[in-house]
């Protein structure tokens, strides 16, 4: 892209850092409950809550 200073472009490497972390948590949750019940179910509830938590954080801290 033609515009944007060099300082801006440097940030683009971490652009997907948080989305990848959320995606990994989701994937762990989707698989965990498949492989067993009990604790694995609980793990899936926690990890699949991460996308929901991300929205709540955004609403709380990034709304302007």
């Amino acid at each position: 892209m033609s515009s944007g200073g060099p300082g801006r472009v440097a940030r683009s490497g971490s652009l997907f850092a948080i989305p990848i972390a959320i995606g990994l948590a989701t994937a762990i949750g989707l698989i965990a409950a498949l492989t067993g019940d009990g604790l694995r179910d609980v793990l899936s509830w926690i990890t699949l809550s991460v996308p929901v938590a991300a929205l709540i954080c955004a609403l709380r801290y990034r709304r302007r």
């Binding site: 892209m1 515009s3 989305p19 409950a33 991300a54 954080c57 990034r62 709304r63």
Partner: protein, 385 residues
């Protein structure tokens, strides 16, 4: 990303979304109550007092239960028998012929211990309506395949959406929600944020949904390949007529003896969609959570109850079986279903905001719309300075 690449991805995102969004909205809206199908059914069912009686009572033989079921439906033959997981109940599907259509079938549940009728599963409830709309738009196989195609377009829309997320977010912090500047900017931010946080879930539910739409051809392929191979010796024999079948109980006992660690989950009768014309197919499930969903069919000769073959399902049927829980979200108790519903609502918001964003800019020149993506929502570059 240069302008041409951006333009291509933008157009892919726009057109794949435009074609599939209305169907995806329908799927997400009908899917929301369907996540709780079991809970809703149970809530509206009268609790059956007979099911509470002594759990140690011996089970009746399957032949006796079949006799009761067929006496209830004169002129019918058995098609499928399946066992409930959480109560001593067997579900028996009957129809006039082994190859009858779904509309001609009757599905009744019986108490394994007393043979008493527990319930008739009917096709006229709201949930059944939603399920049919969700699976095939009331159009049968072609409806299913059509929705599968919409699912593939949805996957393309998701991928292109992720690609566009990069230039859009280049100057923005993750999770930025600019709610006070303009309605359009607000929904752009919600669309991007909800889209990116749900992407893995929505991809899995979307792709497994596509696999589920292929259920019929997948099972037919298995019949044509594996079943035909395993029963090659029977190829030239006439089909076994329903009134000359060997004892169902004997057939199930044969299968259990061949795989003592497993338990039968359902039986496909000879001539039906899940067996050969000469065999009972007894589908055995494993006893660990992971192998519970992966079935192994035992083909049992329907004239003498001898085992013909016991072979694991091929990968494509295993993929179908694995796709079912991952699509339905019914494998991690109620909290998982609630999360499924929440993520489904997020997806509805992404779809709805997508339509809103398209409506608002559809008359604007393409270059201006690309600029909006490149600048993270600024209409002209001047505003960035």
């Amino acid at each position: 990303m240069n302008r041409n690449t951006l333009r291509a991805w933008y157009l892919v995102h726009k057109w794949t979304s435009l074609v599939c969004t209305i169907f995806l909205l329908m799927l997400c809206l009908t899917g929301l109550p369907l996540v709780f199908h079991h809970e809703i059914d149970t809530a509206f069912q009268e609790p059956d007092p007979t099911l509470a009686i002594d759990a140690s009572l011996p089970h009746k033989s399957l032949d006796e239960l079949m006799q009761i079921a067929l006496a209830d439906r004169p002129g019918h033959a058995g098609l499928f028998v399946s066992w409930d997981e959480d109560r001593p109940v067997v579900n028996i599907t009957t129809a006039p012929r082994p190859d009858s259509t779904e509309a001609e079938m009757t599905l009744r549940s019986y108490d394994l211990r007393t043979g008493g009728l527990v319930g008739v599963i009917t096709d006229d409830g709201v949930m059944h309506f939603l399920l049919k709309l969700h699976t095939d738009l009331f159009l049968g196989l072609w409806g299913m395949l059509f929705l599968g195609l919409m699912g593939l377009l949805f996957v393309a829309a998701i991928v292109s959406g992720v690609v566009l997320y990069a230039p859009f977010m280049r100057r923005l912090d993750f999770g930025t929600l600019r709610v006070s500047r303009s309605t359009r900017l607000k929904w752009l931010d919600y669309h991007n944020l909800l889209g990116i946080v749900t992407v893995v879930w929505v991809m899995v539910v979307g792709l497994t949904g596509v696999i589920n739409t292929l259920a019929t051809p997948i099972v037919q392929l298995w019949q044509m390949n594996d079943v035909a191979q395993m029963t090659a010796a029977y190829r030239d024999l006439p089909p076994v007529p329903p009134d000359q079948l060997v004892s169902l109980q004997a057939a199930v006992d044969t299968a259990r003896a061949a795989a003592p660690a497993n338990r039968p989950q359902f039986v496909g009768f000879p001539g039906g969609a899940f067996s050969s014309p000469h065999h009972y197919a007894v589908f055995l499930q494993g006893t660990t959570p992971l192998t519970k969903g992966l079935l192994t069919p035992a083909l049992v000769d329907a004239t003498n109850a001898e085992l013909t073959a016991l072979r694991p399902l091929p990968w494509y049927v295993q993929a179908l079986l694995l796709s079912q829980p991952l699509h339905f979200g019914d494998y991690g108790a109620l909290p998982l279903k609630v999360l499924w519903a929440v993520l489904d609502v997020f997806t509805i918001i992404v779809l709805g905001s997508g339509i809103y964003l398209w409506l608002g800019r559809r008359r604007a020149p393409l270059e201006q719309r690309l600029q909006e993506v490149e600048t993270g929502g600024a209409v002209s570059r001047g505003r960035l300075a």
